[in-house]
Amino acid sequence: MAGNGGEIQWCFSQVKGSVEEEVADADIISCVEFNSTGELLATGDKGGRVVIFQRDRASKNAVPSRGEYNVYSTFQSHEPEFDYLKSLEIEEKINKIRWLRQTNRNHFLLSTNDKTIKLWKVAERDKRPEGYNLKDEAGMVRDSANITALRVPIFQPMELMVEASPKRVFANAHTYHINSISVNSDQETYLSADDLRINLWNLEITDQSFNIVDIKPANMEELTEVITAAEFHPQQCSTFVYSSSKGTIRLCDMRDQALCDKHAKMFEEPEDPTNRSFFSEIISSISDVKFSHNGRYMMTRDYLSVKVWDLAMESRPVETYQVHEYLRSKLCSLYENDCIFDKFECSWSGDDRHIMTGSYNNFFRMFDRDSKRDSTLEACRDITKPRTVLKPRKVCVGGKRKKDEISVDCLDFNKKILHTGWHPLENIIAIAATNNLYIFCSKD
């Protein structure tokens, strides 16, 4: 790890994707996820495709080790569909990807769009049988007159092929749009959450799921909040949390009762009356919730800040980090262009000492929980020299703009970093910037 007091210096490692004037909608990356060892990195896009990258062996073993990933597999996970009952299109955009822990040589991941979750098996094949009796090497049928001896086909090595096949399709369980999936620590069940309900699935069974949370009111006119994210506890198989659009997080224990409508804990920070505005409720909506790796904390992302909560304390978060406070005065225009509804994700480092989240203008923010230092970095293609440490960026609010600073009004709100991932064991991060995937690694 870093030796200079814990501060990580990030260097550019790779960028995936092309530079386009007009980015095709289908190429926009919609989720990023490392697997449990960090060996594989999966991305999903709006076109329903999943691309898996694998750590480059040579770069991993190099000294200093580099974080480089090569394309390992790509497949079409979801297709657009049409819901006849409600006369609505169902987007093929991949909302979430979650890996299962690896148990044998094959990899499994869950990918979901708004309505359907699929379990994919990603397997390698590097051998094929050769030496058939009835066919020759080109596959043409051999003339039976020429067949004089009997031979046993043997396996010969071939070019590595990675096959992706859907193993389970979990469909027709959600009336509303699925926003989260989370695999349980028991690796046998997982939950899927839509706006109003959370279902519990067994990975083997596709035609049944248990509904464990239902916040749909009897009268839809009384609907005031929706579920925005949900996650299982990393170690306790009966605990999960879900966040709402009103800024509350509820922790539920499945051992209490079958339907976990009554929460075991509710985490809510009282509103700061000085900051109250028309937009208070909108910006308090939590877009992402993530447990720390050690299971003692969880992190929530609302529009302007990231909060770290101790699971033992419900009254308020233990840490709050401002992501882009300079936008607080611009909320009206952000409401105008719908940016106020952007759903940013957040990530823990492997040792839970750092947290990271995205912002606009292709900026992303890093927070060191120990030293309380924060930095703003940019994902851009200006690579001067390799192994150059990324220069911190600064946004200036007031009148006087210093030389390298960028003014709030010049921020590009179309370049938003919503999806990020942090390698579970090393300091390698993956940043999705629209249609490009950036990979940065720490200098050490």
Binding site: L88, K135, Y176
Partner: protein, 362 residues
Amino acid sequence: MSQASASNMEVDPPSSSGVQPSSGGTLKRSNSAPMINMLVATSQSVEVSPSSSFKPADASRLRRLSSSNMGVNAASNLPAPKSTDRVNQIKHEENNITDRETQHEKEVHYSWQVTNSWDGLSLATPDSVMSESHRRPRSFSESLHIMTSPSLLCGSPSPTRIIKQCFSPSMRAPVKNTTFTPSPSPSPTRKSFIRCSGVFRSLSPIATQAPPLKRKLESDGGDRFDYLSPPKKFHTGPSTPDRNLPHPLAHSISSSSLEESSPEQTVPRSCLPPGPHPRPPLASHPPHPHHHHHAQSHSSTMHHQHHKAFMPVAADLTDIHMADSETSEFVEHTEMSDLGKHAIGEHTSQGGGFTPIHPDRV
């Protein structure tokens, strides 16, 4: 007012209104909603960012709320919730199902009208224009949105079997789905399995059925997910074997390549197989050679337009070859081993970029 400059983000009302933006620039009371409406009205011309186009937000909002255009809502008295606030979206969806259905029915009706009236179309003369105009929808806000979604025309495809999608990391390209079976002579129905079932959605499901893949060759003892039969409710029909162009993310720039000034590890995009091909990225819709072999014409073409189609490379010619004879897919295997020697940067004379399997056949 706020129209001073396009890049001026300050949309707080002028100080004369009495609301002084505090350090946070916030509005003090929640019943300032009317104030917001005023701001909304006055800030129409202000852009937040000079280069913004907000199409993704609009598009997603449209997509989420309704399959038809928002312009139609004027006719149905449904003010769509402006925001992408999920709560309001859900309420709106629940309350307006019948209206959406009506809109959808209209679209289907018009699209059928258009397709059925192809024969009646001819070069417009002053006389014929008058007679045909009545068949067209009068309102321009009701655009003719032809749903190319295959499920629209053909219903949900019968879920049949697992179709593997294969990818070769060394070639950085999806490869044809080679059904890997221990039996050298596959059953006759398997030849249609090679094709994407998606192309033949309008065919009877029976014609495209093939026995499920045999997985006996799994030498790893099988996964826990293997022992169950293929999922019955498998609801997709990907035309994946046709998608042989690499995903845009295969295009990569690494810092290590900058160090050693080695060539970029990219799949060359400038070279594509000859013939109809899309320009990258893969959003355009080339005609598919397969379609020549089937009398599906209309529906499959429309279906194909819907797919963000990968250009089939030379591999598909062997596909055709295999369909005609009952030779197995092992044609692929021998060529694949040859391909191991081909670096990505090599181009054969035909200009095929990725999998020059049969240079002479192209």
